[in-house]
């Protein structure tokens, strides 16, 4: 960033342009009409560079005062009034509050300064105003020089900083505990036979006497006089400087000072304007003398810079956000592409599977349902002939038994019983029983849900038949039927029970007997069996 520093003395104006922390350009203008005109032209070459104007003038006045310790706004008002009272004829005035008194009301200590003759600044400020150069501030070199004490570690209770200004003047600024208390500018105009060193020694002694008269020193106090000199002047000056109990001299080699502050190249003479510029770059100070009106172009420049920086920041932030968003989106795009490939692969596999599926001209679900129905309802559905064949095998082992009727159903209800019409009748029976209901009377098959197709878990059959035994051998008939039922029950998953026995011996039944004449050799009493076959028990 280009900055334009001006160092104004009573005889000339030094213009220095800095870029970064280096002085890129330096020009000097005589304090005259011609010099002001040249400066005006010069300003045109630095149109937007902010201008920092340092004043090092004989017309600067410095005063100390105290004001009652009050709040911020009141204090500003009091100090403002004091400045106007003290320096009525100039707008270039400034006050520094330096703390509070240690005794009494503990008033605020205030240091006032002003350029009492504003005409000294006028031609230069007119040029600046005319060129719309952004004046950042007008600074008192004497007041600003307190920064130098800090940067150069000049930590003395009483310091007199002696600097030389362009145009041959010597500035003596007195600091007590690093607070500026007094400053004076004297021309470097040695009398005949007087060396620069002698001049400095005499002037500093005179200043000490003045300060002592103002009771700045105690008996033990010593004034440390720090003289900033170029090495070429040091050889001349140093021998002339005599230390006393009250005055001690320190030479500040300007090249060493420049090195310490990082100023390259070092100044070529003992004038310290470049040191001030560099100090300012290191530790920018507050404006001392310029009014807001004088600084308006700098205010506008800062506003413009602020607006443009904000605009730039908005664009950069939006670009950053957009880039981040775009990056996220691109990552998603990559993921999407991978997903698309996966989908393509999956679809390809799906197509391959679909093509490889067995096709019978129907959908897979139709095939699945048809097979499911077959497996659940038809595959294991019993066949009446299988049951009859098994039954026949057992009955074949009982030649005394003759089957008259056989009723069979396939059902899911183990208690269902098929209907049976009466066909057989006991033949040649001398004894019969009547009146009691059959033990497990064959009943009509229960009405299932109309037309419901069973899975055929159970086969239930009712057998009606007769058993041939010798006449009156009811015990043999009962045994024969019991054996038949037992043999049937031995079939896998099958149980057989006697529903009607050859002779009902229950006490609830009535028995009739008739024996007359010649009886036949055999008789064939009737019986009824119920046979249930459970296919799940079978498996």
């Amino acid at each position: 960033m280009l900055r334009h520093f001006l160092y104004l003395t009573n005889s000339r104006l030094v213009s220095m342009a800095t870029r970064g922390k280096h002085i890129a350009m330096r020009r000097e203008f005589a304090a005259s009409g011609n010099g002001a005109a040249q400066f005006d032209q010069h300003l045109a070459s630095l149109p937007d560079a902010p201008v920092y104007l340092f004043t090092d003038l004989a017309e600067e006045d410095f005063r100390l005062d105290t004001v009652p310790h009050v709040g911020g706004r009141d204090r500003e008002a009091i100090i403002g009034r004091k400045l106007v009272q003290m320096f009525r004829n100039t707008p270039f005035r400034h006050a520094v509050v330096q703390g509070r008194e240690t005794e009494g009301r503990r008033d605020d200590r205030v240091f006032y300064t002003a350029i009492t003759n504003p005409e000294v600044l006028r031609p230069w400020l007119e040029a600046i105003e005319r060129r719309h150069a952004p004046l950042a501030g007008i600074y008192s070199a004497a007041v600003f020089s307190s920064v130098m004490l800090d940067e150069l570690d000049l930590l003395f209770p009483h310091t007199l900083l002696v600097t030389f200004t362009p145009g041959g003047a010597m500035r003596q600024t007195y600091f007590r505990d690093r607070e500026i208390k007094f400053s004076r500018l004297t021309p470097v105009d040695p009398e005949e036979g007087q060396s620069l060193g002698t001049l400095i020694s005499e002037e500093t002694t005179r200043t000490w006497q003045y300060l002592d008269s103002l009771r700045h020193f105690g008996e033990e106090d010593r004034l440390e006089v720090c003289v900033m000199l170029h090495p070429t002047d040091r050889a001349i000056v140093q021998p002339a400087l005599r230390d006393f109990a009250q005055i001690q001299h320190h030479i500040l080699d300007i090249e060493q000072v420049a090195a310490k502050l990082g100023l390259r190249p070092a100044p070529l003479s003992s004038t310290c304007e470049e040191i001030f510029v560099h100090l300012f770059l290191l530790r920018p100070g507050q404006n001392h003398f310029a009014t807001p009106e004088m600084r308006r172009f700098d205010t506008l420049r800062k506003a413009r810079l602020g607006i443009l920086r904000f605009a730039g920041a908005a664009v950069v932030a939006s670009l950053g956000w957009g880039a981040w968003n775009l990056n996220q989106a691109m990552q998603k795009t990559d993921v999407d592409q991978r997903i698309a490939q996966q989908i393509q692969t999956l679809n390809g596999e799906y197509d391959a599977i679909t093509r490889s599926l067995p096709s019978f001209g129907v959908g897979g679900s139709t095939m699945r349902d048809a097979v499911s129905f077959y497996n659940a309802s038809i595959r294991a559905f019993p066949h009446v002939t299988d049951f009859a064949v098994a039954l026949s095998g057992v009955i074949g082992r009982h030649p005394e038994v003759r089957l008259a009727q056989f009723a069979w159903i396939a059902t899911d209800d183990a208690n269902a019983t098929p209907a049976l019409g009466r066909v057989a009748s006991s033949q040649g029976m001398p004894v019969t029983a009547t009146g009691a209901a059959p033990k497990d009377a064959p009943a009509k098959a229960p009405e299932a849900a109309p037309g419901t197709f069973s899975s055929g878990r159970y086969e239930v059959a009712v057998l009606e038949g007769t058993v041939r035994v010798p006449i009156n051998d009811f015990r043999g008939a009962l045994d024969a039927v019991g054996r038949l039922a037992a043999d049937l029950s031995a079939l896998p998953g099958t149980s057989a029970s006697v529903v009607e026995s050859p002779l009902d011996l229950r006490t609830s039944a009535q028995i009739h007997g008739r024996h007359e004449g010649a009886e036949p050799d055999t008789m064939e009493p009737r019986f009824v069996l119920r046979v249930v076959r459970d296919h799940r028990a079978e498996t």
Binding site: L300, A311, V315, I353, I378, F381
Partner: protein, 206 residues
Amino acid sequence: MTPAFTREGWKVLRGAWIGLAGAIVAAILIVSGSHWYGVKEKRDSADASRRLQEARAKLDGARRERDNLNESADVFRMLVDRGLLQREQRLDLVEMVNGLRSRYQLFALDYEIAPQRPLPLPGGRVFPSIDVLASRVKLRAKALHEGDILGFMDEISKQRQGFHPVDECTMRRIGSAGDGRLQAHVEADCTLEWITLKDKGANRAG
């Protein structure tokens, strides 16, 4: 009043204000554009994930179906061969019954084929892709020997064409006149379901 808001200030800062306005517009466009693009990509990504899930589910379904169908293909082929998915060919049944009557020398054979109906299954079970239809067939036969009737019924229930499960059957001996003529000794009443399936998909297509 701050100099920025004086007439002179507006004049000096006009370019900066225009630049700021342009920057804000550009920033809004960049932010909204990239946001729109990001949202679109996010939506596309969600769609892609959903489609991936669907494709995986579809493939898993196809694999399951393949496994199921491979297992049941042979069974289904048999069902198709036996005409389970064909419409009832009643004339075929009539001819088959008549043929069996002759083969098993039945003395008499009466039969009724009821109108076809949806066959109710236990538990009210239904299938999403097929309708189960059945016609109830009642048979009354007389034969010399019960073996003839059993053979006749076995032949019907185990026919290579169609499914005719017999679910009720009653056989009884009947008396003979004893006049020396060959007469029936056994009588049977049997009932079977003639089952066919109907593809609902074909139904819809038709």
